[in-house]
Amino acid sequence: MSYSIFDLNRFDLGGFMKFRILAVTVLTLLSLWLSCQAQALNGKPYIHDPSTITLCDGKFYTFGTGGGGLISDDGWTWDGGAVRPGGGVAPDVIRIGDRYYMTYARGGGGMSGGHASNVYVMWTKTLDPKSPDFGFKDETLVASTDVVEDFDAIDSAFLLDPTDGRLWLSYGTYFGFIRLIELDPKTGKRMPNNKALNIAIDCEATAMMYRDGWYYLLGTHGTCCDGANSTYNIVVGRSKKVTGPYVDNVGIEMLKGGGKSVATASGRFVGLGHFGHMDLGDGVEKFSCHYEADLDRSGYSVLDIRPLLWKNGWPVGGDNFKQGTYEIQSERSGFALELAVDFVRMPRVGRGFFGGPPPAAPGVPGTPATNPPAANAPGANPPSAGGPGGAGMPPGFGNRAPAGPVTSIPIQDLSEVSKNWPAGNIDIRIGDFMMRPHQKWTITPVDSVGGYPGSPYFKITIAGTNRALAATADAEVIAVPVFTGSLEQLWRIDQLTDGTYRIMPKVVPGSKEQLVLTAVGGSTPTLAKFDPKSDKCRWNFRTP
């Protein structure tokens, strides 16, 4: 159930002051909520129908409807500048050998009232418009339609079959069928005597990919081109053959309208469409898409790059990392990344398993005066090897309902423990997560330091402090007293295909290697080469 903030009677609030209080509260909560959302890409990522993002000479390129496209040095900050001749709609790009093949369409889609349309393919040696090698050649018609047939010849997308090297092109819209044709990978021209196959209905902006013996056909369902009211969303079906039939997770063929959901609107982003697969290697996969409307950018259509997860053989759209305060949990051990500082016990106020009040325990020779074993301290009741209960058992053995009122116990606060932490660098280790201050990490995007496909770099600090996780020159990790913004204090966080995360410093001082946070021991982190097959390199972010 939701309430309008103007429906004050429901809250029994009388008077303008209460309205102001409510309004301020709502705005504050809204502000906090917004601050926890991942933002779409940085810069000017304005585009519609983006092509599959393609790396060329160290830069990322994508091209959109109407001509031109976007360029990025790091996959995070984007700007215009890419050049595509021909105008038209919905291009796609694939690199084969030393050529970048480009496909796009002119006409169709019901635009200007018509469906007559043509799909073209051309190629260039580079996507860099400033390069002397730049220039599209051999534009050729590979598919077309007129108003008589039940398909549009637009929204074309490549698939280079990794199993046999054959090149395929899907295209089409809601107006009839999605079709599949075969091209010559050496020329980009249509294979002689190739007959188009119908492989889906009720979608547009298709893309295809292959993984583990399955061919996947991704399409976009819903309504396009209506800004914040667009219902665009991405679906998928799969087949053992590239030619289909493509079937969804409940057995409905895409030729009958099937499609398993991959990604839908969320947060401030409305209308996801035009899937493009990005395999970044080492088990990191992402996908590009456009939002019909980014509500934080005046509702304009923008590019985004998001993690691609795999669940039971199906692609699932992940979310880019959201800032917040987290436990950083090792997938290896289930333990949490923490400062290597003395553990400080909370007062033993609970009755727990044994019940009964804290015992007036006798002093024990050799018991240190520091920290926990202050057995005679008020409220302290460390686990005991002996006590008034006799036979080594604590008092009140057995279950017993609380005698007094049941109260909420505050968790240990930073101010209770941080004053005893060393002022300088502190080692990092992995330990049982106990929701303690030395285990809670606030992860915040850092402005103006660049990023990587889909996200900015983050700083990782102990919550409530400026103590920052940093890589060292000997490829270990420490917490430095103050975040300075130096490169070894910036972290890349990529969600992996299983939903866990890879955490990587921007640089390791004195090293050119890309190393990632790794649980080299059950309780010991380090920096090491990423092993996609090992849980040592995988981490989870849990809300404490």
Binding site: G352, F354, V364, P368, P372, P373, P383, M393, G522
Partner: protein, 251 residues
Amino acid sequence: MNRKFYEGSIMNISSNIATLVFCVLVVLAYESSSAASGGAAESDTIRSIAPYFTPASSSPKAPDADGFLQRWMLLEPINKPNRTNTVFTDSYIRNAFDTLYFPSQFTGVPRDGQKVTVAGKELSWHAVESSNFNVKLFRFAYGLNKPIYGVLFWAVTVVNCPREMKNVRMAVGSNSASMWWLNGKEAVILSGDRRMVMDDCVSKRLTLNKGRNIIRGAIINGPGMSDFCVRFIDENGDPIKDLTVNLEAGN
């Protein structure tokens, strides 16, 4: 709950009660038997560190198939009462292990049978080979009729390397807390109420010298089981096995 003392989970309450009752009956029977015989319990007379340990031989010994070091010089336990293992913070164990209990504590390699005196008590070094990947200190102390709880153990071994090995790590598991040194330098510390798990805490990247390398460890325990395991691993986490251990070489 102190898992070591109670050795069980909350789900095992009824089991624990049954165990408690059983133990009481055993103790009563034992006391009755002792009173009847008028001497030490029979079980005390047959205590042994076998089958957990055998005497160390003089021939070089390779690590086991997983790289664990099984040949050690162990000192009989030093009395160090602690009724709980939760006291073993980093500060506590650093202080406990920085304390000098006997001469040559941080230097040299002891001989089998060599004796030291700690707080007026004479303790012996034993050159042993563990039958398992881990070194069961509880069984070592129990088998020698020494204190089993509230104790501090010292362990020393000598690893011989055929060549210098860089970027290796000492990987340790211990019950409870422990601290380890390689050639006199601190290598790894295991604080808290720990369970022994292989590769639990791992040192930073180290260099093993060509020839002799002295490994020294101190393990502290309050109540419950006590043991440790040590091996060296390479950059990929794989065990380093082309080493030998020969305690005689340290004499």
